[in-house]
């Protein structure tokens, strides 16, 4: 079967083992395994399962390890972009991973021609620690008993060892302070149209539900990836019908509909007189661990970087120069992935603060960081 750019397909792994293990037909796992086996790439980045709430990114050239990977986990909010630097890899990724990869590629850290990205639809991810807390308080389940989770029709389900399933609507969870991470609530890229192929279970209905993946081919690299997997007999695809495409669109717009509500709720207007005090107080907690810089998928500076070189505790400035330099330097490329808030040991809402500055600036230049390679960062390179 010929695959063309722009095709919308339904696909699944031919091997029943992979198909049943994977969340929706094992298409992504199979495509990754095929890319590795037929030497389209040298390595593959996957998540290695530790327990229900934890997984670590690994870079592997072993097909078996790819097949044993975890698949999608809502409680592992890692960003894989920085793992792809300097290698010929294929990787799965949420929209923010993909945006991170493109920002890295803009700064010549990643060779985009040799990096294959399989985008995954993403409605949001959750904190592992908060999820455990939520399971005890809201679901009244023992976190150790949980063996699976899924999101269906706006409800979050958890399955226990005895086969019991319990679901609570995500809206209710979020009102109670649990649910998705803050940055996911106002993220407005749910389908990774910037990846090579955009996959997900949105739009898979009827008898294929849960057994196949909807996938849209975004560019030539996507064609190569899929054709490679089809030729090697790893996957089977068919054209998606109009009904499936419409449902996928519907899920997407329902997800995006929530974005405005949360944007308003999270970015409350701070009175003009109190702004300075607010930022000073937030940044005053900083212990200079530098974790936000390490985790940032848009940052490509190494050891010697502006933000650390201009920062000296002896200066005793009223506002941390480290954060100010990062803010000024990254406002044109912040993708809003939320990694910096996640890793902050003193819980400074770094992402939310960054978005307060980055959002208006990026909107003004009609620029969305990490969506296309054609637009260089506007603070660094003059736009025509």
């Amino acid at each position: 079967m010929n695959v063309n750019v722009g095709d919308k397909l339904l696909g699944y792994a031919t091997d029943p083992g992979i198909r049943n293990r994977g969340a929706s037909g094992g298409l992504v796992t199979a495509v990754l395994a095929a890319a590795l086996e037929r030497e389209l790439v040298e390595d593959v980045i996957v998540l290695k399962h530790i327990n229900e709430y934890e997984a670590v990114p690994i870079i592997t050239d072993d097909v078996d390890e790819v097949l044993a990977s975890t698949g999608s986990m809502h409680t592992v909010p890692v960003n894989l972009a920085k793992h792809a630097t300097g290698k010929k890899v294929a990787m799965p990724g949420k929209p923010c991973d993909v945006r991170g990869v493109i920002e890295q590629a803009k700064r010549n850290e990643i060779d985009i021609e040799n990096t294959y990205i399989i985008g995954l639809n993403c409605g949001g991810t959750m904190h592992p620690v908060l999820t455990k807390e939520m399971l005890i308080n809201m679901y009244e389940l023992d976190p150790e008993d949980v063996v699976g989770e899924k999101i269906d029709k706006g409800k979050l389900f958890f399955k226990t060892q005895d086969g019991e399933e319990k679901g609570i609507s995500i809206d209710d969870l979020e009102e109670a302070g649990y649910g998705r991470r803050e940055s996911c609530r106002y993220c407005d890229v749910k389908i990774p149209v910037n990846a090579d192929i955009a996959c997900g279970n949105w739009g898979v209905v009827g008898e294929l539900a849960g057994k196949a993946t909807f996938c849209e081919v975004m560019n030539e690299k996507g064609v190569r990836l899929l054709e490679n997997a089809i030729e090697s007999g790893y996957i089977q695809v068919e054209q998606a019908g109009e009904k499936e495409i419409a449902i996928r669109e519907k899920v997407n717009s329902a997800m995006l509909g929530l974005v405005d509500k949360w944007t308003e709720k999270i970015f409350t207007d701070i009175p003009l007189q109190e702004r300075m005090k607010y930022y000073m107080e937030q940044f005053a907690d900083c212990i200079d661990c530098g974790a936000c810089k390490e985790a940032c998928p848009a940052c490509t500076c190494k050891e010697e970087s502006k933000c650390t070189m201009y920062h000296n505790l002896a200066d005793d400035y009223k506002m941390s120069m480290y954060h100010m330099v990062r803010l000024l330097h990254l406002s044109d490329s912040c993708v809003g992935c939320g990694q910096c808030s996640d890793v902050c040991p003193v819980d400074i809402p770094v992402t939310t603060i960054f978005r307060r500055f980055a959002d208006p600036a990026q909107k003004k230049h009609n620029y969305k960081a990490g969506m296309t390679l054609e637009r260089p960062p506007f603070l660094e390179v003059m736009l025509k």
Partner: protein, 143 residues
């Protein structure tokens, strides 16, 4: 109030080597009266002025920062000042979002012959900043 009258603001002016630094020179040669509040930092091109330099000036105790350069189209390095403009507009919005008065940051294109313009620009900003008082980012112990 007595202190306030004696208080002289500290203003950092970034001047590009080819135009506005010459403008400041011409202002001096032309004997235009101007307050002693300005500290000039010479850079080769206004495109060299990173937003972080501006912010560092504030954190070091500047009450206002002036970004000056050649007129658009006259840049010695072809398009350096267009980049300055983009960064300046971003900084302007950042100042408001941060809660710092936007009157503390100014951009002006001044050519080497416009001594009078430089002097009146400095005069204007000094009066404005005197009204505003010291910057909230000024470190303790700096006047």
């Amino acid at each position: 109030m007595a202190d306030r009258k004696e208080w002289e603001p500290k203003i950092v002016a970034f001047c590009c080597n080819w135009c506005s630094y010459g403008g400041a020179d011409t202002a001096g040669m032309g004997r235009f009266q101007q307050p002693a509040s300005v500290r000039v930092v010479r850079v080769m091109c206004s495109g060299r002025i990173d937003p972080l330099h501006v912010f560092n000036a504030f954190l070091e105790g500047a009450d206002a920062v002036l970004v000056t350069g050649c007129h658009l189209g006259d840049c010695h390095y072809v398009n350096g000042n267009y980049k300055t403009e983009v960064r300046y507009q971003f900084l302007e919005e950042l100042m408001i979002e941060m809660g710092l008065e936007p009157e503390r940051l100014h951009l002006s294109w001044i050519s080497a012959s416009e001594g009078e313009k430089f002097a009146s620009f400095v005069n204007k900003v000094t009066t404005e900043v005197k009204k505003l008082g010291p910057s909230p980012l000024k470190p303790e112990g700096v006047n």
